[in-house]
């Protein structure tokens, strides 16, 4: 395994993958509830909360695992404190477990969500950041310990590579942007205003920094490409992400009660957000030509490049096509948003974490070669299914925008009569996605441990 510290990364990856599996199973239940609302013992809202929270948490666990791995590889030394990292891991898992139990109790007995010390005990009723205040505090502590440990590791060797710098900056920005979502605001407009600071500045800011750092790291590791060149392009990319993404926040401030100048600011800046994403695609394809060594971990490279491409498709294309106020006026809050949310989270961040797992895998298992074919099979099951889920939801969204927003038909009528088949397609492809995830989970546990010849 090389470094003892890599066991920590392995723990984070294992927990991330198990949550990924849970996310998809509850996602299929949620999809079926669109057709049969009473399909399951828990109502849709509880299932959806589990679905989106599992997503965010497994991505964060994946980022932490990958960050621990990358920092150690870049510093070429053990973590500053392995016991602290182990403690941080188990404390995080415990917190997540308690929060999930809370959601389920609240699902059965909504009345149990009582107010204690002025905040709700089990569920704050704000999507993605439903976790109650006590959990917020524990999460912040966990992230601070993680930041401390990774920063001190980089500090210890005084090397401070560019990748480490951007990675730590991204993680710090991530931690800081959690805070605007912790406090209660009386005014629903400001409630949503601050809520979007968290959600938007995460996915279109902090997380993209982390992604760019991982990309530069991976391209160097896999291809042996020149570090200075990679670092230069990484800075240009993250610079453009921040210039367009920070004020691009305005694309969420069109209709929530905030002043009308946001229509201009949000429209203009968010329309430019695909620019750095295109640059990343160009950069990574170009870099493959500067390889200085043969690629051993082909599946790792494959996932990395796929992440870059789907970053552009999911966030760039599916994000930008409804980002101008003239269009968003009709598509806001429809299934168009759901379509974008799915392809963006999968393409940008799920594939990113999976790519990092494959890149780390040989090191974690202490092997040079592993059977790579299962990784591709998993990829195609997941990706083709997700493309069709996105098409189903986009179809449902176009029908909904037209019939409800333009023609004035009722929401429930459109949902139950006109979009019925889209829900069925979505659920079917959800099952296809699950097949891919199961193959991936198996691969994670057996790759590098089975004899190479037995490869199938």
């Amino acid at each position: 395994m090389g470094y003892e510290s890599h066991k920590i990364a392995n723990n984070f990856f294992t927990s991330a993958i198990l949550l990924f599996l849970i996310q998809i199973v509850v996602g299929i239940i949620a999809a079926l509830q669109f057709v049969w609302p009473d399909f399951f013992i828990l109502n849709f809202n509880t299932i959806r909360t589990l679905h989106i929270n599992a997503l965010v948490v497994w991505l964060l666990l994946g980022f932490m695992g990958a960050s621990y791995y990358v920092i150690v590889e870049e510093s070429e030394t053990e973590l500053w404190s392995i016991p602290l990292a182990r403690f941080q891991f188990w404390a995080t898992i415990l917190t997540v477990g308690l929060v999930v139990i809370g959601y389920i109790i609240m699902g059965f007995y909504p009345q149990a969500n009582i107010t204690v010390f002025g905040t709700l005990l089990l569920n704050e009723g704000r999507e993605y950041i439903e976790a109650p205040r006590w959990a917020d505090i524990l999460i912040v502590v966990s992230v601070l310990l993680f930041l401390l440990n990774t920063t001190m590791t980089a500090w210890k060797t005084r090397k401070f590579t560019d990748v480490q710098g951007v990675l730590i900056a991204g993680n710090l920005f991530l931690a800081l942007m959690y805070l605007p979502g912790v406090f209660y605001t009386k005014n629903m407009i400001m409630d949503q205003f601050w809520w979007w600071w968290v959600i938007h500045l995460w996915v279109e800011g902090a997380w993209e920094l982390i992604a760019a750092a991982f990309l530069a790291f991976s391209l160097h590791k896999l291809l042996g490409a020149d570090r200075t060149m990679l670092a230069k392009w990484m800075y240009i990319e993250v610079g453009l992400v921040m210039f367009t993404g920070i004020l691009g926040l305005g694309h969420h401030y069109y209709w929530i009660g905030t002043p009308a100048y946001w229509l201009w600011i949000g429209g203009i800046f968010s329309a430019l957000e695909p620019v750095p994403l295109v640059l990343m695609v160009w950069d990574s394809f170009r870099t493959t030509k500067y390889a200085t060594k043969p690629v051993e971990n082909r599946v790792g490279l494959f996932y990395t490049i796929s992440h870059v491409v789907f970053n552009f498709v999911g966030a760039g294309l599916w994000g930008v096509f409804h980002t101008l106020p003239q269009i968003n006026k009709y598509t806001h809050g429809t299934q168009i948003t759901t379509a974008h949310g799915h392809i963006a989270f999968y393409g940008v961040y799920a594939l990113l974490v999976l790519a990092m797992i494959y890149i780390a895998l040989p090191t974690l298992r202490g092997v040079k070669q592993f059977n790579q074919s299962r990784g591709y099979v998993a990829f195609w099951w997941m990706t083709i299914s997700m493309i069709f889920i996105t098409f189903s939801l986009t179809g449902a969204g176009l029908v909904q925008s037209y019939l409800e927003r333009v023609m004035g038909l009722d929401y429930v009528t459109v949902k139950s009569a006109y979009n019925h088949y889209f829900w069925i397609f979505r659920a079917v492809f959800g099952v296809g996605f699950l097949v891919g995830v199961l193959i991936f989970v198996k691969d994670f546990f057996v790759a590098g441990k089975e004899p190479l010849a037995k490869a199938s």
Partner: protein, 220 residues
């Protein structure tokens, strides 16, 4: 461009744009209170009920949230509050086919929630949701049908595939009712069916009620 220039471009550029965002945020905080009615104690209590029952896990509000159920921004403007309150307390008592479960709110919570939804319906949302074109371009065939439309019966009833699902489909309602009884029902539903959730239309004149029921009787 050298790596160092690129690095400075990233660091100073990010700081600059973040400061612009902070300035805009302060300006927004100053302007927002003027774009909505005053927040009373009931509105705040209602907002807390909204969070407590995780309504956003199914509904959107101001277009943000979950996409399983209708948007709540304007619902208090679209339907009478009495009706909405009854619905929230026990959805399936009103509409047996409702997908919304009974969440167990009490009377007081429901009242506060109505105050909150009333408040959100008055927020200046830059004219969102847009006014549908169909509603604007409709032509009425009879006086009764005109009344049906301007009283917005379609918010709760379907005729020929168009309308809401809170009340029964009226596409073939004609044969079910007698003229005199229907007129009485429309004026005060509770006088015909006990515990009816259908709002009364006593503010209409006798002639208007008659025209309306004549129109309904033609639906078969």
């Amino acid at each position: 461009m050298s790596k160092k220039t690129a690095k400075n471009f990233f660091i100073y550029g990010s700081i600059f744009f973040f400061l612009v965002l902070v300035v805009l945020t302060i300006d927004t905080m100053i302007r927002v209170p003027k774009r909505a009615p005053v927040i009373t104690a009931e509105v705040d209590a209602g907002k807390k009920v909204w969070h407590k029952y995780d309504c956003i896990g199914c509904h959107t509000i101001m277009g943000n949230g979950s996409y399983f159920a209708p948007d709540m921004t304007n619902v208090a403007g679209r339907k009478p509050k009495d009706f909405l309150k009854k619905f929230i307390l026990d959805p399936r008592a009103i509409n047996p086919k409702a997908a919304m479960p009974k969440l167990g709110l009490n009377e007081k919570e429901a009242d506060n929630l109505m105050a909150f939804l009333e408040w959100t319906s008055k927020v200046d949302t830059n004219k969102w949701p847009p006014k549908p074109v169909l509603a604007a371009a409709r032509k009425e065939a009879s006086t009764g049908q005109a009344i049906y439309q301007n009283q917005n019966c379609a918010a709760c009833h379907i005729v020929g595939g168009i309308g809401g699902t809170a009340g029964p489909d009226l596409t073939r309602i004609g044969p079910k009712w007698k003229s005199e009884e229907l007129t009485r029902y429309l004026k005060n539903p509770a006088s015909v069916k006990t515990a009816s959730a259908m709002p009364g239309f006593a503010h209409l004149s006798e002639q208007e009620l008659k025209d309306l029921s004549d129109y309904l009787l033609t639906l078969q």
